[in-house]
Structures are given as C-alpha cells and as structure tokens.
C-alpha cells in the first residue's frame, strides 16, 4: 500500500517505552546538545540526533512529527520538542525537551549580546557568519533530501506530486504558509483518506 510507509504505527514507540526510552535527563541533554550547535537552524540537527544517532525514532516517525509540528502555531522546533518529549514522558518529558532546547541558547545569546560592543568592531565576524549561513542552508537542504527519499518510490507518486506542488508554491510563487495550509493540505489529506480506505 502506498500509504503504508507513512502509517508506521506508533506502537513501535509505545512498546519500547518500558525498556529503552530515554530518561528525562537524556531528553534534556539531547535537545540542549543540538540547540547549542544549531547555527542557522536546529531542525537538521534534531533529525540527526533523534533518527541517526540516538535512534529514538524511525525516519518516518520523524517526518510525521515534523509535519504535526509545522501545522501547529509556534516555532516548529519548539513544537517538535514538545511532541517528542511528550511521547516519551508525558508532561515532564515535554518540559525537559523544551527547557533543554531553549535554556542553553538563551545563555549563549545573552553572553553574545553582552560582549557585542567588542566583536561588533570585527568585520571578519560578520563575514564568517555569512559563510556559516550558506553552509547552514546546505545542511537543511541535505536533511530535506533525506526526508524526501521515501517519496521517490514507485508507489508514492501522489505524495511526491503534493510535495512538489507545495515546494513550488512556497519557493517559486512565494505563497505564505497559511495559504499553503488552506489550499494544499486539505486536498492532500482528502486523497490520503481515499487511498487509506
């Protein structure tokens, strides 16, 4: 079934709860660790940590949770930390993930602002940040490509079409996110409903 790949049952995660689910401290440190290296975007680091390194989730589970996070209001990465933390440990898990994600970068940004008058004078810092931004865009590009791999299977043509339409709408036509949500998502969900039957 085309949609089987995206229907990966939550029971995988729930069954693993008792044995190898991460502790609150591991969740907080995991999200804290990706937050302090997340220059130009934390989401690629989140996928790397959650899927590739710690294997707390499968690639399709990550795509599903990111989808949910994107369609909720608020910063995507904060929503993702809530969704993932909640799943492992309920309210304490969500709190641990969000505090881990937000606390360390808050300290760093306040420190940077405190010494800003000093490094503002150094033009090289500004030039360096431009180089970092270009590399960060590449990191996000690679992560998007990894997530898109399942869409290129022969039985996922329809999903690939919806992904491409969304991409073109935002990247080329410059449509805003709410417009995309209202225009494309209902049609995509309607087709999914029809296929799941």
């Amino acid at each position: 079934m085309a949609y089987a790949a995206f229907m990966s049952s939550r029971s995988d995660v729930l069954d693993s709860r008792s044995s190898d689910r991460p502790s609150l401290m591991q969740i907080a440190l995991g999200f804290g660790g990706i937050a302090i290296v997340g220059f130009g975007g934390v989401l690629p680091w989140a996928r790397r940590m959650l899927v590739e390194q710690r294997r707390w989730m499968t690639p399709s589970q990550f795509s599903e949770d990111l989808a949910l996070s994107q369609f909720l209001p608020g910063p995507n990465i904060v929503n993702l930390s809530i969704v993932v933390g909640q799943r492992f440990h309920g309210l304490p898990g969500a709190a641990a993930a969000a505090i881990g994600l937000l606390g360390p970068p808050m300290l760093i940004v306040i420190l940077l602002a405190s010494i800003y008058g000093y490094w503002n004078e150094i033009a090289a810092v500004h030039d360096a940040m431009r180089g970092v931004a270009s590399a960060a865009a590449g990191l996000i590009l690679a992560t998007a490509a990894k997530m898109a791999v399942p869409l290129f299977r022969a039985d996922a043509r329809l999903q690939l079409a919806f992904a491409i339409i969304t991409f073109l709408g935002v990247a080329v036509l410059g449509a805003s996110l709410p417009v995309v949500l209202l225009a494309i998502a209902p049609v995509s969900v309607a087709f999914a409903w029809w296929r799941v039957r």
Binding site: Y3, L72, P75, V78, V109, L112, M129, A190
Partner: protein
Amino acid sequence: MSREDSELWTIAFTFSYLSMLAVGGVNALVPEMHRLSVDVYGWMTSTRFTDLFAIAQASPGPNMMIVTLIGWQVAGVPGAVLATACMTLPTSVAAFLVATTWDRFREAKWRIATQSGLVPVAIGLFSASAFVLARHADETLVAFLITIATAALVYYTKVHPLLLLGAGGAIGAMGLL
C-alpha cells in the same frame, strides 16, 4: 507597582499576544516586534533593535532568540526568561494537547489519513525553506558552492556538520564571499 514590575507585565502581555500570531515561524513577526519595541513602547532605538536581531541570527538555537534579547534589553535576565516563556508557552500547551490527542487516536482512520496527507506537504515546506534560505544567503558563486558542497557532504558522508559550518565560516572570514 514599580517601573520594573510594569515593564515585566508589558513583556508578558506583548509576547503572549505575539505567540498567538506565530503561524509559520517567529521570524515572520520580526516587523511587528520592531514596531512594538521601537515605536510603541520606546524600549530601544531602531539601530539597537537591528543589532540585537543580528546577534540573535548569529547565535545557535531556535530561530527566535530575538525574543530573548528584547526581554533582556528591557528587564535583564528576568525579562529574557519571561519573554521567551511567554512566546513559547501558549503554543507549547497547544502542541502538548494536540500531541496527546493525536497519539490516543493513532488507529483512527481520520488520523492516519491526516498524517499521510500532511507528511508530503511538510516535506515540500521544509525543502522550500532550504531553498529560500539558500537564495538569501548565497549572493555570490562561492557562497552557492558552500551550500552545494555542504549539502552533498551531509547527504553522502558522515562528516560532522559542525566541521562544515566551521569551514563555511572560515571561508567567509577570509573575505572570499
């Protein structure tokens, strides 16, 4: 009520209000934050706001550290914590409630169909954000090549992404962009 207290209340109110508007990310709200901080409340000059925004963009972490810095500018560390909490709590509570409901209905057909329909749109959105970021960041051929090389190395090898961000920064610092 002391002046500090009233500033904290204003921070709490302002960022709770802004969080409700944060559909599509916090960066879409930067113009509104600028208007409130500079024109409405007179917390800082326009130049100071621009400086703080540049610092927030250069810092690691979620794409919303400008909120922390506005709170810090107005009322120190308590202001920073309060602004960040008010910006994230309302939407986090919503995310928590949706996530618990979502998991409870994991066998339901509407939930499976919704998820199956949203995933391709989410991947399209994420790809578009990569494209838009690259278009803004890459004003020169060298910058474009940094983006492409980083993408290829992250996709095909296990090289640590921080090395690649560092390499991009080094090339930039040498004035090659």
